[in-house]
Symmetry: C2
């Protein structure tokens, strides 16, 4: 009996996976990237991309590896969400999953499914099918985290193209937070942080005509936050 | 070879534990309940109480069981914090830990160490010894969560006796958030929520003399929060 078997023999262990809730924003809607499962259990059902933790990688690396293998997405905002451990959450046996959520600039991603994923597809939040495993519950908790966090950390920019207009930014917040924001106050507040870089370019292409394009000064934000700056919408 | 061995043989798995950061508040100080480890690894070092996940329990149940077994503490505020998965975090081999944090009314707990814990002791935050495993990192993240959460959820009351004075409550917030709060504004804001029940009793015992005792109306808060009420200090 090798070490691994011996270890298991002494102490039964759950299997450990990571799963990743992938948010995108497009056409004024919050969207989710789902994978159609090619294998049992829940073959043919939609689910979040994920897979088993390797013995030589931590959960962050596993989540990013699975995200890339199953969707081709890499180098995006990704954060640990919560760990789901219900005894009966996986018909294969005891499986604990460390859930993550990622924020993706949807416009930049042509998604390519691979690995044990049959098909990858973006779904509007309003049209999410019944998900595999306990992924419906994972989604509810991911939405709560996103709504809670977007109000006091500038993560919303991760969902927008590099260049965006203030109306687009306001629309993002209104959609995710499910509130109406006053245009003047929103504009005033967001510009007061001095974290948006004017691209000297407007939607119409004509100077001083139509909404202006801005980009988010992430570097400056990181500097400021080190010194205790608080972002808030 | 039984099912468990077979499962392990096909897929190597990390062991899974829970650990619990236990906060208390006493004598104007934030305190932590630590356990002196009676067994290797890190025998004799201080650590958070915790242990291996059983195959028939979820992580919440495991954390509460270990908390009770090792400290006698039960029925307190406890919440999942973060899952720590660094490959080399445990010299015994690959061990993933699901960390929790608990808030305890210190005055109510005479702590009794048992199980594989040698000794349990409350330490002021300013005098925490070097901890076993990666528990120093777990503590940093638990403090960040506590400071972040206490400002917008009324969890601070979990650290105070049932009956407390406004100066005691203000002191709790000032200590944990490491800020000075204006006495008048604090008093006005906290009373404006109408979530404190006047105990018609003062520290001096003499009516209208000395600070009054209040208790927190948790039931009312839970009702209000269902309807979208936001607590904020």
């Amino acid at each position: 009996m090798n070490e691994q078997q011996k270890y298991c023999y002494e102490y039964p262990r759950p299997a450990v996976t990571t799963d990743c809730v992938i948010f995108g924003f497009d056409e004024g809607e919050l969207k989710l990237l789902l994978i159609e499962r090619a294998l049992e259990p829940f073959k043919g059902r939609w689910a979040f991309p994920g897979g088993f933790l390797n013995m030589n990688e931590n959960a962050d690396d596993c989540a990013q590896r699975e995200l890339f293998e199953e969707t081709g997405i890499e180098n995006v905002f990704i954060e640990q969400l919560y760990t789901f451990t219900d005894v009966d959450r996986d018909p294969r046996g005891r499986v604990v999953t460390i859930a993550y959520y990622a924020l993706v600039k949807l416009s930049e991603y042509k998604v390519t499914a691979g690995d044990d994923a049959k098909k990858a597809q973006w779904f509007p939040l309003s049209q999410i099918p019944t998900l595999a495993f306990d992924h419906d519950r994972i989604l509810r908790i991911a939405l709560t985290r996103l709504r809670g966090k977007i109000a006091y950390q500038p993560i919303g920019f991760e969902l927008l193209p590099e260049k965006f207009t203030l109306p687009e930014l306001q629309n993002l917040y209104e959609t995710i937070l499910e509130v109406q924001l006053d245009r003047r106050n929103f504009r005033k507040k967001i510009l007061s942080y001095d974290l948006l870089i004017d691209q000297n370019q407007s939607v119409t292409g004509v100077a001083h005509k139509g909404a202006k394009y801005y980009s988010f000064d992430k570097k400056k934000y990181e500097e400021l936050s080190k010194r205790g700056f608080n972002f808030e919408i």
